[in-house]
Symmetry: C2
Subunit: 152 residues, 2 copies
Amino acid sequence: MADLPAPEAEPLAERLRSRGLRLTTQRKQVLAAVAALPHATPEAIGARLREEAGPGGAAPDTSTVYRNLELLERLGLVWHTHLGKGAPVYHAFEHPHLHVVCQSCGEIDSADPHLLDTAAERLAADLGFRLDIGHVALSGTCRACRENEDAP
Amino acid sequence: MADLPAPEAEPLAERLRSRGLRLTTQRKQVLAAVAALPHATPEAIGARLREEAGPGGAAPDTSTVYRNLELLERLGLVWHTHLGKGAPVYHAFEHPHLHVVCQSCGEIDSADPHLLDTAAERLAADLGFRLDIGHVALSGTCRACRENEDAP
DNA sequence: CTCGTTGCAAAGGATTTGCACAAGT
DNA sequence: ACTTGTGCAAATCCTTTGCAACGAG
């Protein structure tokens, strides 16, 4: 239940150990939850773990979830993006993808990261800025909401 | 002091009136502050107004600042973007610009909106998504911080 | 006068932090 | 055993809301 789908378990143990940190049940659980949920907020991660634990079982405390998300991000195993108001979403180290968010309905979509290749090159050339695609969120209006638009 | 640089004053009065809303001192003040500050958070706007008011004078209450920022945005006079954790920044309707934020030092830079033209076209073609450039924030690492990087 | 608005204070939601106890190595 | 981590509760931060008094049209 707290075990990870193998490909993720190793990097975690390894990276923790190399820094003198410890492999705890909670850390495995949090990483597993991020990997399992598509666009997980800290709250959603906590909820899922509580649900998995069931009535009797114990799930990591909210503060532990936050602390470990931060740690996992430092370890390079998860990433977060701010998609709107107070909602950072985390995703595990899969193939990088770009987040596209609809301002009207909140719908989150993914897009091809290469969309920003030329922009990234120009930012590097013009400002010396390294664009981090994993953290980028593009806002706008999705097709469905565009069609529902009434008075502007 | 609460007066606006003309080009902004008219649209405000006009748009309020056409909706049966009222032109108040606070609304003029909030809009003026957003126009004057480069990347204003609600808190920064409140602080500036309090400062302008001085010890004796009265500045709009925080809740009024929030309410009016929301209203001004509905009226199309200001825009906001989320650049990171809990800090939405507002800017007045100038020429649109793209926000670029450094994850390390928090430095905010502006870039040419045309950087995203090709990306916007492809999003429209592929997903029917209309990209809203004013709300976009690009994250990454600025030149100074890249040079300071040590152990990864 | 008649509502839209404001100020104040209190409620809320989302993180974060301090600390004693529990748990990895 | 020696430290790092965790749970719990309290503290913060940012924002929103209820309501009576205020002010623009």
